[in-house]
């Protein structure tokens, strides 16, 4: 199989330059601390879990200063609500636009809180994700979010996208 992949790659790219092979081998275990990629099918989601109630407590400590009471917005964008996509500049929200609940987990884990990104543990990220999804009524108020349940959350705008240039993908 590896040999086949190598040949396919060569055939696809006639302009490949020969490199000096200076890459240092590294194991997936060594990359683990950096590897925070999550795919929409749930691949990459870590162990752990959280509930909306747990998330509400963390939100009050670490998020409310920018995103406001009940996540309705402050100096940073609201995380709850959102109107119909009736204009081309309707603000895009988790409820009215985002197609995958995994994106919520991914963005919180990699980028939040703004001043201290990647300081939340995975349980906290699941809990905050659960809190935001519950506030948007996308999950029930006592549902637990984990690697199994999160990718199954139905996002209302999921089927509303058109691939712009499908032949380039």
């Amino acid at each position: 199989m590896p040999r086949v992949a190598f040949l396919v790659l060569l055939a696809a790219s006639p302009a490949l330059a020969q490199g000096p092979n200076l890459g240092q081998p590294i194991s997936e275990a060594e990359v683990k601390a950096w590897d925070i990629s999550i795919l929409p099918d749930g691949a990459g989601l870590p162990p752990g879990s959280g509930t909306p109630a747990q998330g509400a407590r963390i939100y009050a400590q670490k998020c409310v200063a920018c995103h406001g009471e009940a996540a309705k917005g402050g100096t940073a964008a609201p995380l709850v609500g959102g109107g119909p996509l009736s204009a081309i500049n309707t603000p895009k929200t988790i409820a009215n636009f985002w197609g995958h609940a995994t994106t919520v987990f991914d963005f919180i884990r990699r980028a939040m809180p703004w001043q201290q990104p990647r300081t939340l543990n995975d349980d906290e990220v699941y809990a905050l994700t659960a809190y935001i999804l519950a506030e948007n009524k996308l999950i029930g108020s006592s549902e637990t979010m984990n690697a199994k349940t999160l990718p199954q959350v139905k996002m209302p705008n999921r089927e509303n996208f058109i691939l712009r240039f499908p032949d380039r993908l």
Binding site: P2, I26, D35, T75
Partner: protein, 429 residues
């Protein structure tokens, strides 16, 4: 000298007139002045000529008389939100953007990366996960190419139903062009050995946000580069020091800066910026996904808002054209709001996915004029008129602040109105 022939209404002249009638036509030229500057003084042997000048600095800066040639900042006090720095196109010329004036968008501040410690890791669906130091990458075969980088939200003010009065810098300042030098990503992917299952890669930065975008493997193997140098020097911090992903012709946000990790995967990650920000809403409520391409576009920089014509006479209209699909094949210019057109001269060399400067001589008679440019690329795509564009992509219900991003991927024609006083305004025509 014979008067050069007018080739389109309102005084547009043959693009070859300057070449053919060179000196005489040039002598008749009038220049643009930046609004508010004083007239030149009469000839004299000035004080600065009558003694030794300043010591050469180690890093030269533009003349103090050019201090107003700066980027404009959307977030000068570093509040916790995105910072945009826009290129002053109306105060520049030529085809590439000087590094201090290259546009930048930084979402969570510019990281202070130690190049000795920085690593680029390639992993996921590969035979051999690898880590590269900056020093190691510098020993690979390097490639230089001119290419523009444009934010997917550039020109967003033109989604407004009425023209927003602003300079080309404010309207179109989120595109710049530079010579980038680096290692072809295909070389590194070959070394890592791509698994046949891999269809996408996820690129991630070492900034606070760990900005992450999914890129189709086909683009990565086509012309993607790990850029190490910008216009001959190391990347500017705002442009991704010490290394960035360069995807010629694709939306700026995907050209991930501070690049530290590439993971090969079977499906896109649907990260924040691809799932939300750069998925423009269409009239009717559906949205485009994976737009990626920056389509053919042009705009006039001279004259434009903020520059003033000093009375009737000969001027050169010029601007930039570019396309993510390849080379610019043709640019036409109108002085009567798109009724008649003259073909512009294209500055050689015309390079794929890079700025092409276009020029056309213009004899302004002092009456009102509406200037437009429209470009074609070698793939056969034409820049739409604004009305064609709006018919497909819509416009906003009302005017919005010039710094707001109403939608993404605007590439239609820009119109500049010139009044008898020589002042330029943004108009729709």
């Amino acid at each position: 000298m014979e008067k050069p022939a007018q080739v389109a209404a309102n005084g547009l002249l043959d693009r070859r007139a300057f070449l053919r009638d060179g000196a005489a036509l040039a002598a008749a030229m009038t220049g643009y002045s930046v609004v508010g500057t004083a007239a030149a003084a009469p000839l004299a042997d000035e004080p600065w000529s009558k003694g030794p000048g300043a010591i050469s600095p180690a890093n030269e800066k533009p003349s103090r008389f050019e201090e107003k040639v700066t980027r404009t900042l959307s977030n000068p006090n570093g509040e916790p939100r995105t910072s945009h720095a826009r290129t002053p196109h109306h105060l520049l010329n030529g085809t590439f953007t000087p590094n201090p004036l290259h546009f930048t968008i930084v979402h969570s501040g510019t990281p202070d990366i130690d190049p000795e410690q920085h690593r680029l890791v390639i992993h996921g669906l590969v035979k051999r996960p690898l880590a590269f130091s900056l020093d190691a990458l510098g020993r690979y075969p390097l490639v230089s190419r001119m290419t523009f980088v444009e934010c997917g939200g550039n020109s967003a003010p033109l989604f407004s139903p009425q023209p927003i009065q602003a300079t080309a810098q404010a309207l179109h300042g989120l595109v710049s062009c530079a010579e980038w030098t680096g290692v072809m990503l295909s070389t590194l992917l070959e070394e890592a050995g791509v698994d046949a299952k891999a269809k996408w890669l996820i690129a991630e930065g070492a900034d606070a946000l760990a900005l992450s975008r999914s890129v189709p493997l086909a683009k990565a193997l086509d012309d993607a580069m790990i850029a190490l140098y910008q216009n001959g020097e190391r990347l500017m911090p705002g442009n991704g020091y010490p290394m960035r992903l360069l995807l010629p012709g694709w939306e700026g946000n995907m050209n991930v800066k501070y690049l530290r990790r590439i993971k090969l995967v079977e499906q896109p990650a649907m990260s924040y910026y691809e799932a939300r920000t750069y998925s423009p809403i269409l009239p009717g409520g559906k949205a485009y996904r994976f737009y990626f391409l920056q389509e053919v576009k042009s705009f006039i920089t001279h004259p434009s808002v903020g520059l003033k014509l000093k009375g009737p006479g000969l001027y050169e209209i010029s601007g930039v054209a570019y396309s993510g699909n390849g080379r610019i094949s043709k640019v036409i210019v109108s002085a009567d709001g798109g009724r008649t057109w003259a073909q512009a001269a294209l500055q050689e060399p015309v390079l794929a996915k890079a700025f092409t400067r276009f020029r056309v001589p213009w004899r302004w008679d002092g009456s009102p004029a509406v200037l437009q440019s429209r470009a074609w690329d070698e793939a056969g795509y034409s820049q739409p008129t604004r009305s064609q564009f709006v018919a497909a992509r819509g416009e906003t219900p009302s005017v919005f602040p010039v710094t707001a991003f109403a939608s993404q991927h605007f590439n239609a024609v820009t119109s500049w109105g010139v009044n008898p006083g020589g002042e330029v305004s943004h108009v729709y025509a």
